[in-house]
């Protein structure tokens, strides 16, 4: 903590870190390292980088990489923007309703993904409830709209399952914010809006950062929603899934996982640096 902490105390503190670090080194890094060897091995057992060079020089695959990151970023921004006001209401206004809020937030995560997708299909199919309502009941439209397999609905479905992570991350930090700081600013004559932007928001930066990081990382690696709801996206996790499911090209899957992990780590590191600079 402070610089005067003696050496053995520092060592003792580092011991706090050791179990988690060793656990992931053995049970996360080693299996993935072992698996990634498939991507560096040529047909005759020698070492090769050819899978990486051919992947990274193919315009189609480069497009896939860009689409993966852009999609995850879009889902992250939308989720965090939606989540903040909800977290605010949850912590500051909900009172006894907060239990209900939490239930509603985790309900999507407790519903099997296949049934959830089924729910979306019932609502948004060509002759589904929403179109029926728009065309028959309200008469706003003449022809039913096409929702399924559109990018918009796929993004909405991703936000639907990831936004709870953002809400709860922001709420857990917002809960610890010392309200006297906000009251002080108000008493000194700052407007409510200004108090929010200059006091509350900076104090909850860690919550926003956590929400953004969790949503981004999960979105970056997820494929089931896209498999089931389509949307025309072509992302690395989808391609990886295809190698397991259809083509059984484990070497290509391993190549893509290594690339995906590298991208995710760079994005994560950048986000953490940003949060630390803003928050501290």
């Amino acid at each position: 903590m402070s610089d005067s902490v003696p050496m053995n105390a520092k060592l003792r503190q580092a011991m706090l870190l050791a179990p988690a670090l060793i656990f992931l080194a053995v049970f996360f890094v080693m299996p993935l390292f072992d698996n990634s060897m498939r991507s560096f091995m040529s047909e005759d057992g020698g070492f090769t980088l050819s899978r990486y060079t051919s992947f990274l020089t193919d315009r189609f695959y480069l497009g896939v990489i860009v689409e993966t990151v852009v999609l995850a970023a879009a889902v992250t921004v939308i989720s965090v923007v939606i989540a903040y006001p909800v977290a605010y209401v949850l912590v500051r206004k909900a009172g006894r309703l907060s239990g209900v809020f939490i239930f509603l937030l985790i309900a999507p995560l407790l519903t099997s993904i296949i049934m959830r997708t089924f729910g979306w299909q019932v609502l948004f199919a060509r002759r589904g409830l929403v179109n029926q309502w728009l065309v028959t009941d309200l008469g706003i439209l003449d022809v039913p709209l096409r929702w399924l397999n559109t990018p918009g609905l796929a993004i909405a479905a991703l936000v639907h399952v990831l936004v709870p992570f953002a809400v709860l991350s922001i709420a857990s930090v917002l809960q610890g914010v010392d309200r006297r700081l906000e009251e002080g600013a108000l008493m000194l004559g700052a407007s409510k809006l200004r108090t929010f932007f200059e006091v509350t928001l900076p104090l909850t930066m860690d919550g926003i950062g956590t929400g953004a990081i969790l949503v981004f990382m999960i979105a970056n690696g997820s494929f089931v929603t896209l498999v089931l709801l389509g949307g025309g996206f072509q992302t690395l996790p989808l391609l990886i899934y295809q190698q397991f499911n259809t083509t059984r090209d484990f070497a290509l899957a391993s190549t893509m996982s290594t690339i995906l992990l590298a991208i995710a780590l760079v994005c994560l590191w950048l986000q953490l640096r940003l949060v630390r600079r803003q928050g501290a």
Partner: protein, 263 residues
């Protein structure tokens, strides 16, 4: 009520309608009298709930899933909370690097983690066992606990702990009486994420499935592939019901105000 509050509430209500609509469809279908899942339903019945209890693999795997989610969450807390406490008070650049590393399992498609772990753990001799499944689930749950606890602890002023120490409290007393209550929302959020992630996981559990270690999502998928009847919707409704019961118990034990984050 002030205008700003009205807008906030309208936004929140709209948000929850969005969250709950697809789920509501599923809940309604679980009460259908038809032999297949389609909407609107022709009539009401409880037959699909009865079907859950008739089909033994549903019950067995629900039990495996619950046990697994609890064990993986406890293991994640034991490993993750100390690491988070250390990392949140460290300001050096390598702490950022280590945090990046500890969170990295989040971004790997789970199917890759599952596949790679199957081969690695089999090689180590763990084979296809509950222990192997627990290890891999802990890998994917750990980052949630680390991140949420770090976030909450970092936003706390160290002054509270310093005050306790100055007043003569031991290191352990300080942790138990000051630190732990302060980081409780972070632990609660982390445990909740961890439990749900494990409970809902398919791609990892899939590779470690056997007659003894199949989890509920694996059995549900296998079931649905060949029999898409509304019992799967009934199972989802049952899971929601279990969540309500769990929240009510938490309310009785702690009081709902204090458990904003389900502490």
């Amino acid at each position: 009520m002030k205008l700003s509050d009205v807008i906030l509430w309208i936004f929140t209500i709209a948000f929850f309608i969005f969250m709950i609509l697809p789920i509501a469809v599923v809940v309604v279908i679980s009460f259908t009298s038809a032999g297949y899942a389609a909407f609107p339903i022709p009539g009401w019945s409880m037959q699909w709930f009865a079907r859950i209890f008739e089909y033994q693999p549903f019950i067995d795997s629900l039990w495996v899933s619950l046990k697994l989610a609890v064990v993986a969450t406890v293991a994640s807390c034991l490993l993750g909370i100390p690491a988070a406490l250390y990392l949140s008070r460290s300001r050096s650049g390598w702490a950022t690097a280590i945090t990046t590393f500890l969170l990295s399992p989040l971004s790997m498609p789970m199917i890759v983690i599952g596949f790679a772990s199957l081969f690695f753990l089999s090689w180590l001799g763990f084979g296809i066992s509950f222990l192997a499944l627990t290890i891999v689930h802990t890998v994917i749950c750990l980052p949630y606990v680390i991140r949420t606890v770090t976030a909450v602890y970092r936003s706390m002023s160290p002054a509270y702990e310093e005050a306790a120490m100055i007043l003569g409290a031991s290191r352990f007393t300080t942790f138990r009486e000051v630190t732990l209550p302060l980081i409780r929302p972070g632990i609660a959020a982390g445990c909740l994420f961890s439990f749900l992630t494990s409970f809902d996981n398919l791609p990892v559990s899939y590779f470690f499935g056997s007659a003894q270690t199949n989890t509920l999502p694996v059995v549900m998928l296998a079931y649905m592939e060949h029999q898409f009847d509304p019992s799967i919707a009934a199972l989802s409704t049952l899971q929601l019901l279990l969540a309500v019961v769990a929240l009510l118990i938490a309310d009785r034990l702690y009081g709902i105000e204090k458990m904003t984050i389900a502490t």
